[in-house]
């Protein structure tokens, strides 16, 4: 075990040289690259944190937007439901009104149809009644009935009012006046003379009277003096009766 000063001194120098070499070619480059990597990682982390913060902010904004949108949606839905309810109420009211109107119209139409039906029934009944009566009267028409109607004619002529007598008098003044007396059955001489005498008394002068037989009268007479006509026959009575019934039916 010897001590060599040269080796001792050279070893110190060598070690210091090695320190310098390793510092410049090992420690410094490795530490630099580690520092750069750490800086990169730090930057990445910082960027990531920043991105995360931005993402969180965006998320919050998105959630806020979603919440607002949800509220807006609920409000819109509520408005829509209210509008729909109001519209439904209006439509229901309109529908009810239409239904009521339709029911009323239907009721009116039904009543009108019913009245029309009843009127037609009545008219038909009247017509049938008149036809039946006419047939019956045709079957009952006879000289006896004619004689009864003649009596009624005379009664009516004697019962004429002053106004009617004045009208007859004025009518007979017309020149070339044709006075017709129609009968369902031929009148005998006495009755013709009796009627001529009575009418001449009313007119105050002798009147030319033409007697005619008209079987359409069924039974009875018709006296025509100008515009004045006296009905005393079954045909005209039936017409009058039928017209009265129809007028009464139409009036109801």
């Amino acid at each position: 075990m010897t001590f060599d000063w040269t080796t001792f001194i050279l070893e110190i120098i060598n070690f210091l040289a090695l320190v310098w070499i390793l510092k410049h070619f090992l420690y410094q480059p490795i530490l630099d690259i580690i520092a750069r990597r750490r800086a990169g990682i730090e930057k990445t982390l910082t960027d990531a944190q920043q991105i995360k913060a931005e993402a969180d902010e965006l998320k919050q904004q998105h959630e806020k937007f979603l919440a607002e949108w949800e509220q807006e949606k609920e409000r819109a839905q509520a408005r829509l439901m209210a509008e729909l309810a109001a519209m439904r109420e209006n439509k229901l009211a309109e529908l009810n009104d239409k239904i009521n109107e339709e029911a009323e119209r239907r009721k009116v139409l039904d009543e009108r149809a019913k009245r029309e039906f009843e009127r037609r029934m009545e008219e038909q009944g009247i017509a049938q009644g008149i036809a039946f009566t006419t047939k019956l009267l045709f079957r009952l028409a006879s000289p006896e009935l004619e004689a009864a109607l003649y009596a009624l004619l005379l009664e009516d002529l004697h019962g004429l009012s002053k106004e009617n007598k004045r009208v007859i008098t004025e009518a007979t003044v017309v020149p070339e006046l044709q006075i017709k007396i129609q009968s369902a059955f031929p009148l005998d001489e006495n009755k013709q003379n009796e009627l001529t005498r009575y009418l001449s008394d009313v007119a105050g002068r002798m009147l030319p009277i033409e007697f005619q037989v008209n079987s359409d009268l069924i039974a009875g007479f018709q006296i025509v003096i100008g515009s004045w006509i006296l009905h005393a026959n079954l045909r005209d009575e039936l017409k009058f009766f039928s017209g009265s019934l129809q007028h009464a039916t139409a009036g109801s």
Partner: protein, 222 residues
Amino acid sequence: MEEAAVVFYAGPFAITSIVITTWGIILLLGVFCWLATRQLSLEPGPLQTMLEGIILLIEESIEAVSPGYSQQMMPFIGTLWIYILIANLVGIVPELHSPTGNLSVTAGLALLVFLSVHWFGIRNEGAGYLKHYLSPSPILLPFHLISEVTRTIALAVRLFGNIMSLELVALLVLLVAGLLVPVPVLMLHIIEALVQAYIFGMLALIYVAGAMQSQQNVQGVS
């Protein structure tokens, strides 16, 4: 242990094989580091990963003992660990001897540790660093000085003695037992090389860290 052979003379200085071996180590390390760190990448390959792992291990070890001074102390302490480890392992190579098996080498390293302790102490604490020799009492100054010298000598002799004895044992076993038996001894040599490098570097680190924190210790005591 035989004397280191003188290879050549440079004027009055006899250059021994130990110095040549040290130069070889320095040359290999320098070239390797230059090649390895020429094209460093942010996405490291296997070699760069290994180098970064070694550097980070050194940094963390220093940081654990002296927090905040790893950048400042790494070149010296890291080089101690790397150089002593390689110097210890060189003895495994046939026809080569570990430089650390030579007292001149370990004494030089111990002297560097001794000087670096005061260098780092004064650099960080200023002239007040020397006050710790008077703490807690000026009476203890001689003991402090003796302690400085003895621990430096112990540092040099410990490394020298262990590595020298290790090589001697390996040589003796090889001579007595033949070729295969020394293999476990060589494994022991590797472990011993690692342990001794670690111990030397760690002691140097503790001494330097103690010097850098001496003023705080003085203030704490007073």
